[in-house]
């Protein structure tokens, strides 16, 4: 099982060529300075930005191939994203945020809640079910975003600067949690970061967009 991208990604006037394949268990770090297109890669794989040309394939299924007009909508891709700005739903409590994707994918309510609670416990937020995202600290919000992605058991996990929006104390705690979580994650991971420490701690390969 793998995901491969070969082609041009871009947004607006920005465009760059990429060619990589990652398999289950791999953690591909994408590094580079601001504006090098790191987040654009994540958004392209997630289906939020179309590929300019080339192909994006997952487990033999074509997700995006502009030349042959093949396209799989974001909601039908087996990937999950932790966005740089997290994008937690402010009107939903923690458990509803985490269960949202399961419910959207047809899991019944009881099971979705059960699985979400287990995932929250795993990221160290077992008693936060009813809290609203705005009442949480930066580190806690980050953990909710991580739980929200992992609970979907995606084939591909996309982490866009997962440690950038937290204070140094939370950062240290998340630095411990993330490798542990990724170690038991069966799918492929793409980790966007500008911190080489993150690469050393978690990645199995590095793609530099300098």
């Amino acid at each position: 099982m793998s995901i491969s991208l070969n082609g041009f990604v871009g947004r607006g006037d920005f465009e760059r060529s990429l060619d990589f394949t990652i398999a289950d268990g791999d953690v591909l770090a994408i590094t580079g300075p601001n504006g090098s297109g790191k987040s654009t890669v994540v958004h392209t794989i997630a289906g939020l930005i179309p590929l300019r040309s080339g192909s994006l394939e997952s487990d033999g299924a074509m997700w995006d191939a502009p030349d042959s007009q093949q396209w799989v909508a974001p909601e039908n891709r087996t990937c999950a994203v932790v966005f740089q700005d997290l994008r937690l739903f402010p009107h939903m409590n923690v458990i509803s945020n985490v269960a949202y994707g399961l419910r959207a994918r047809g899991v019944n309510k009881d099971e979705a809640i059960e699985r979400s609670k287990k995932m929250l416990t795993r990221v160290g937020l077992s008693s936060f079910d009813k809290r609203l995202p705005n009442d949480l600290s930066g580190g806690e919000r980050q953990r909710v975003a991580l739980a929200r992605a992992l609970v979907l058991e995606p084939r591909v996990l996309l982490l866009d600067e997962p440690l950038s929006a937290v204070d140094s104390a939370s950062r240290a705690a998340l630095r411990e949690l993330l490798p542990e979580v990724l170690g038991s994650f069966a799918g492929a991971t793409i980790l966007v970061t500008h911190d080489l420490g993150d690469v050393e701690a978690m990645a199995t390969a590095n793609l530099s967009l300098n």
């Binding site: 997630a46 289906g47 939020l48 909508a73 974001p74 909601e75 039908n76 891709r77 990937c79 999950a80 994203v81 966005f83 700005d85 994008r87 739903f89 009107h91 949202y100 994707g101 959207a104 994918r105 929200r148 979907l152």
Partner: protein
């Protein structure tokens, strides 16, 4: 906030403007026969008009919401060509003389109308001069107010949240109901209030398309119009009811309209 200095001349002009608007409204309050108020409000013709007004305007506000919110969403999010033209068409009733709206409704849904003739020939349905026609006229003039308010909210809402929901497996309709609508809820509530208030005050389109039949299609504004020459005191009482409702809507929405104060 410290008030900025306003020159005395400007103050006088501003005061004249305020008095011009307030004086006619206050005149009604002053001239209303307060001692007979209860008696007049309990008259059958008054109660009928009030009931028809409340019933039709609430139904019109609900219909405006059910159809106007998806329309606002389409206008805010679709990239289709011709959308600008659609927007202009949809909000035209806001600036159209209401009586022209009534004529337009008759031309479309009257017994000889473009659609109405088939409704009558095939299903024996005749819409003009019915209470349904009152509701249709109200929706025609009021829905654009809701559409504009809600479209603006959809445009300002965080598309990143909608994108996040889609990557989690949410279909476009689930995104609409679970992310976009909650985010736009204050604007939707304001839009419903606006549409309802506009429906309650509707006169021109309704009287043209639905007529003014007491107990059947006659709403409060129609009753006020007809009573002016017959029973002026009663028309004052009904006007007071409409003023009271309008002020109540404004008060309920003051936070939205007074934003920035």
């Amino acid at each position: 906030m410290k008030s900025q200095r306003v020159s005395p001349a400007l103050k006088v002009v501003a005061l004249i403007a305020a008095i011009f608007v307030a004086l006619p409204l206050l005149s009604i309050v002053v001239r209303v026969p307060w001692s007979d108020l209860g008696n007049m409000l309990s008259q059958k013709s008054t109660r009928d008009a009030l009931w028809i007004s409340l019933q039709t305007s609430i139904i019109a506000a609900v219909i405006s919401c059910l159809f106007g919110v998806p329309l606002a969403w389409l206008l805010a999010r679709s990239a289709s060509r011709g959308l600008s033209a659609l927007r202009v068409v949809c909000i035209t009733p806001m600036v159209l003389p209401p009586v022209v709206g009534g004529i337009a409704l008759l031309t479309a849904f009257g017994r000889q109308g473009i659609v109405g003739q088939y409704l009558y020939d095939w299903f024996n349905i005749s819409l003009p001069f019915t209470r349904t026609a009152v509701v249709m006229a109200q929706v025609f003039v009021a829905m654009p107010f809701l559409v504009l308010a809600v479209e603006a909210a959809f445009r300002q809402s965080d598309r990143g949240l909608e994108d996040a929901a889609r990557t989690m497996g949410a279909s476009p309709s689930r995104v609409f109901f679970t992310i976009a609508i909650p985010a736009a809820r204050p604007a939707i509530v304001a839009g419903i209030a606006l549409a309802w208030a506009r429906s309650l005050g509707e006169f021109g389109a309704s009287i043209t398309f639905a007529g003014s039949f007491p107990g059947r299609t006659q709403t409060l504004p129609m009753a006020v119009y007809e009573l002016v020459s017959v029973d002026y005191r009663l028309s004052l009482v009904l006007s007071l009811v409409l003023i009271f409702i309008s002020v109540a809507v404004l008060a309920a929405m003051r936070d939205r309209w007074m934003a920035g104060r």
